[in-house]
Symmetry: none
Subunit: 221 residues, 2 copies
């Protein structure tokens, strides 16, 4: 059975732990705040009070045996980086860390962290870009939380028809246009029909709520 | 010209302000932390030291005249909700707030906030869902005597297709995945196809016996 260590139980960490736990995974939740650890008993297999910068403690908790570690330790770069270093040295095969800044991200990358996340920054930039745009669909931004965005056709979509993909039902986003080719051979198919098929290299113009469009980013990675 | 009020300049707020400002918008940035306000002068039209729960101050700043307000005020629900209420009462047509929790979100909705965001929660749930999935790579490390290792694409490989490299024949290792980019733009191409080309900066994930992988190290130096 897969075992995960979630180190730091702020908003981000608590949600990671809870989601994994509810999916039936073995979750070791770590924080140095007693109240938080107490609450974590409800969403983790094991909730432990510990200082994540203490390598000996981490080792005694069996962190070296987990399949993945997720680190989100608050506003101090040194604390977060040190914990990531220890977890790396303990040989954990997959480490994800919520970074405080781009520079922090580069340090984490240098020490071998596998996944570095900037959720507030990503969401902030998306919001700002939407608020700043003057679109044909200008009135749409007033529909709270909706955005028009473009993504390259993910490999999983290529060769499939819109009817088959059923984006509205599966991902709650609507494909409003497909742009194929570029330069003089560029074509744009607005309000595509159900039998249209997505081709490699197509640009998909999607309408949806930000939270649903965010999910597509995973496809498009 | 569009004018935006960004109230609260933590990670989220600062990125909203900076993005809008760099897009040429008129940005009024508000925070009650003097150091933060000082730094904000670099990414806002006007950076003001003020307590966002003080309606009189907000009014004197001309918040009632902005096109949209973006509020992200930290860990206190009362502070955030009060600021949102004032901004709403001042008649700002579009208000976006970073919520602390689902319950906080419901309160914000009740007072008429137009857009409520949960960036850490959304990202956390996506990460957890992905980690919980069984990927092709999971069982590979269990092949006895074999190792999965990663190397940076050696210069000799860059620009060449897998078919052309014929790693299995020449070096007795199998390329099981190529990882390109990093951080939020990281992509992983699992079981790449023969025509895929290796790019500078790619991380090659290889399966093979240690002695064969060792030989690759010579390439990768
Ligand atoms: N050295 C440490 N050892 C263990 N836990 C720590 C340590 N330092 C901080 N923490 C915990 O990490 C958690 C970090 O959460 P916090 O809310 O500060 O921030 P965050 O990671 O910036 O954000 P978010 O709320 O978005 O998850 C807190 O619960 C805190 O108690
Ligand atoms: N009453 C207030 N008036 C003005 N500014 C405030 C007030 N209360 C808090 N702030 C500011 O709001 C900002 C909130 O940022 P903080 O980093 O605490 O959190 P956040 O909103 O949880 O998260 P993030 O870092 O993800 O943006 C801080 O810069 C703080 O100084």
């Amino acid at each position: 059975k897969e075992r995960f260590a979630v180190i730091g139980l702020g908003t981000f960490g608590a949600h990671v732990a809870r989601t994994l736990y509810e999916l039936g995974k073995d979750v070791l939740a770590v924080d140095f705040n007693a109240e938080i650890v107490q609450a974590a008993a409800a969403y983790a297999t094991q909730a432990v009070l510990a200082d994540a910068t203490d390598r000996t403690v981490l080792e005694s908790l069996g962190i070296d045996q987990v399949d993945a570690a997720i680190i989100s330790l608050g506003q101090r770069m040194d604390v977060s980086t040190l914990a990531a270093l220890h977890v790396r040295e303990l040989g954990v095969p997959f480490i994800a860390v919520k970074a405080l800044s781009e520079e922090h991200g580069r340090i984490l990358q240098a020490i071998g962290v596998h996944e570095i996340m900037f959720p507030e920054k990503d969401r902030a930039i998306r919001l700002a870009n939407r608020l700043a745009r003057k679109d044909v669909l200008d009135f749409l931004p007033l529909l709270a939380g909706y955005t028009i965005t473009e993504i390259k056709a993910p490999p999983e979509f290529v060769g499939r028809s819109l009817k088959d993909l059923a984006l509205r039902n599966t991902l709650n986003v609507q494909l409003v246009a497909i742009q194929s080719g570029n330069g003089p051979t560029r074509k744009i198919n607005i309000v595509p029909s159900a039998n249209d098929v997505i081709r490699d290299g197509d640009l998909l113009i999607l309408l949806g709520e930000d939270r649903d469009l965010d999910r597509l980013d995973d496809f498009a990675r």
